[in-house]
Amino acid sequence: MSESFISIRDLHFSRGKRQIFSGVSLDIPAGKITAIMGPSGTGKTTLLRLVGGQLKPSQGSLSVQGLQIPELNRKQLYQARKRMGMLFQSGALLTDLSVFENIAFPIREHFDFPESMIRDIVLMKLELVGLRGARGLMPAELSGGMARRVALARAIVLDPVLMMYDEPFTGLDPVTLGTIVSLIRELNESLGLTSVVVSHDIHETFSIADHVCILAEGKVAAAGSPEELLNSDSAFVQQFVQGKPDGPMPFHYPAPDFSQDLMQGADSQC
């Protein structure tokens, strides 16, 4: 494996009383596409936010290109974020700006470029995602797939070295899904990025990832190349990869015995 771009060691994080990570260690290799997988609610989005420095771990280390993210001061953190692009689950376009202005937003905020140059950069990025013709639309006029592609164009507008995708495959029609999958692949190769894809869609993720980490119950449950995981003999990995409802990973949220719960009836509070 090539040198690691992001290196996470013994990471702990909790929300209120709920422990979300209890000792995650993983490496994300440079120039590759790494997938972070796991059931909903395991903290995949949280992990991306920790990498982006929006949340601080309670314990453990997290470095991106050798920089200890939790120890950076505000200014250094903002400097580091200019080299990261993040595609949010919802797209998170600014609703009061047009498609063009949304993509121009990071440039206008950080640089004093002349208008013609901003226009060139924005149109170039829009062409890359195939939406040059939609530059005048408002976010409310876009379909879900288009919004995600606009958000993708915005995420790469400052030419990041790291791209993070939060659930890029959910809620898309098959054609848009195909476009997004190939865009992630192409961007990673043509721009020389390091990509992190968070997802729970086995099929699409395994088709583009070089390396996969599966999170469960606050830890890394398994890691390896897609082939290694498909051929793994761990019961948990097999359950996850094949999407079986029964196995080591429980389908039910922890609860008291069902028949007892029913018997208690109206005297109990909930």
């Binding site: 929006q54 903002y78 974020r81 692009g85 689950q89 998170a92 376009l93 600014l94 937003f105 905020e109």
Partner: protein, 259 residues
């Protein structure tokens, strides 16, 4: 008993920690003032949506409050043959009390709630988080211009409220009910001191502007990122603003006008 004590304790801790967070937030908002002033276009836009769009309701209410005040004042004063003091009564009530307080209450319903909902929705739709990831501070970029716009608009709106209210009072008192025009204005001139009454009225409305806008932007920024959370934050924004304005009004009045 122990339970009640425990609940009171938890409530106090909760309130204190909210106050602490709101104060920290305020410090961050104020730290963004310089960069906002360097980009006047952002501020102008917010002045328009916070201030200009609140004008209509302020104008409308000022006219009716002024008319009612004059009408009721006349009915009372005329019994004592003191209707020539109508101008003083109308203007002092509006300048010292009704102008600042009513504008603040109307402003929190019209503009404060809109600020809370807007910021809360931006949070719920991850727009604020995405700004952070684009290395843009959402407090400086989104909150500070709105906060400044509120602090500037409300005092101006209050002055408009006072002036229009007094003029509407004059129309009802002199033009309709026949109070002598000369004594209406001259009594007002001799009894209302600019440096005391007007300045104190404006100071009141500046304090209200600060508090109402602070509550509005904090409630929005602190909202739970769900539709329910945003709706609760909007309600809280209006309710807390009203309570804060009324309580502060009492304190300020006691300090300013009771000798």
């Amino acid at each position: 008993m122990l339970d009640t004590l425990q609940r009171i304790g938890a409530f106090t801790l909760d309130t204190l920690s909210s106050l602490g967070r709101a104060s920290l937030f305020l410090v961050q908002v104020i730290a963004g003032i310089k960069s906002t002033l360097l980009r006047p276009r952002l501020l102008l836009r917010e002045l328009y949506s916070v201030g200009v769009l609140s004008l209509l309701i302020i104008i409308f209410s000022a006219i009716f409050v002024g008319m009612v005040l004059s009408l009721l004042g006349y009915v009372t004063l005329v019994d004592f043959g003191a209707e020539s003091s109508l101008g003083v009564l109308v203007s002092l009530s509006l300048i010292r009390e009704l102008g600042p307080v009513l504008s603040a209450l109307l402003f929190s319903g019209r503009a404060g709630s809109a600020l809370t909902a807007e910021i809360g929705l931006m949070k719920a739709t991850e727009q604020l988080a995405s700004m952070e990831m684009m290395a843009v501070d959402p407090i400086h970029r989104i909150v500070t211009p709105r906060f400044l716009a509120g602090c500037i608009s409300l005092p101006l709106l209050s002055v408009i409220f006072m002036s229009l209210g007094i003029y509407a009072g004059y129309l009802v008192g002199s033009v309709w009910l026949g109070v002598d025009e000369g004594s209406f204005w001259s009594q007002m001139q001799s009894k209302v001191e600019f440096g005391y009454d007007v300045i104190n009225g404006v100071i009141k409305s500046m304090v209200f502007a600060f508090v109402v806008t602070w509550i509005a932007v904090f409630q929005g920024y602190n909202a739970m990122p769900t539709s329910e959370g945003v709706s609760r934050a909007t309600t809280n924004s209006v309710v807390y603003s009203a309570l804060a304005v009324l309580a502060l009004d009492f304190i300020l009045t006691a300090i300013m006008f009771v000798k």
